[in-house]
Symmetry: C2
Subunit: 215 residues, 2 copies
């Protein structure tokens, strides 16, 4: 049953046919498919609709523009039937509110308040708590958390109540799916470890076992 | 002569055919065309190449992801022949460096260190000077400045030396093209006032007169 699944595969590649092929192979193992800009650049946003026929799609667009542009990006993702969308909160509540207003009732909005790469510490980290508070006030559905930093997951979980937490940076960036879930993540997002595997299906199964064994 | 021109038209719309039609009408009045995500979502990144045949294209992607994703987005824009690309700097120097490394010698990289909407003041504004310094260290080619805030343009010009400054928020968001140039902008980016005008050509000419009369 999809609702019991916690694995989101990140198909962070250009090739739309390959993305569909991998998604079809592993569809019984995943809750959703995350896509980001490269695959939309190469295929247009229609790829969101095509992948949505296989599993729910989370658009990892890290939206970070003025309210009007944020609204236009969100509208198109919604039109293509996306399940969720990822927006930065750093650009302010008016920008985030534009994404939420356009998504309302149709797509889950995940706010970025921490990231999984080292550079995030330079400017964003000291603002993380304030960005969480602002995102909660705006009415987001969840947060993106760094899957390689379990104490941060636990910290965001404490502030986020029962909102959804999706952990990135699992696998290639060092995070462990089981530990991320145990720290408080609802979903683990795994990219390279699945789509670069010789057998994406075996890789996805292994991660699901990791998740169950750790709980 | 294109090199004397300061006007960049922002075709922040979905419709690729309409974007080309407007670009063709005003091509003698502009230095470049700015595109953002909506038109790429609707048409795929091939629209960058098509518009590049009319005038240089500046990809306003406000890139704000981990280094690997930033690199993939930049690579595709470069492949399509873009003249320049816009990246956030708040995601840290490793993320910005990925954009610069991939662009090197092929595309101008503009860093976002201020924005033109009110929400920018909540988190970004206090970091603006530090983000400018970090961007300079990374080796950006220029900065995006708010065309409706002349004192900020002058402040960024002081830090940026002879790098390129492109001012957004002209027209619909309240900025005046002439005043922005006088404050230190090399380029003024104008969207709605041109593409929503009954005659985009007349609107573009008017802005160019505004620019010359103020200098």
């Amino acid at each position: 049953m999809r609702s019991g699944k916690k694995l989101i595969v990140a198909l962070d590649i250009y090739d739309g046919s390959r993305a569909k092929e991998i998604a079809l192979k592993i569809k019984d193992e995943i809750f959703a498919i995350k896509v980001n800009w490269p695959v939309v650049m190469a295929n247009g946003s229609g790829i969101i609709k095509e992948l949505s026929e296989i599993a729910p799609v989370l658009c990892d667009f890290k939206i970070a523009d003025i309210p009007n542009t944020n609204r236009l990006i969100t509208m198109k993702a919604k039109e293509e039937g996306a399940w969720g969308i990822i927006s930065h909160s750093f650009t302010g509540t008016d920008s985030l509110e534009a994404v939420i207003a356009e998504s309302k009732g149709k797509m889950k909005v995940f706010s970025v308040v921490t990231m999984s790469h080292p550079g995030y510490r330079e400017f964003m980290e000291p603002l993380s708590e304030r960005m969480i508070e602002a995102s909660l006030r705006c009415g987001v559905d969840g947060f993106i958390v760094p899957g390689n930093d379990y104490s941060t997951i636990a910290r965001v979980r404490k502030s986020a109540g029962d909102l959804l937490l999706a952990a990135t940076g699992i696998g290639a960036q060092g995070g462990n799916a089981g530990k991320a879930v145990r720290a408080g993540a609802d979903y683990v997002i795994v990219g390279r470890s699945i789509y670069q595997a010789e057998s994406p299906l075996s890789a996805a199964r292994e991660i699901n076992m990791e998740i169950s064994s750790e709980n």
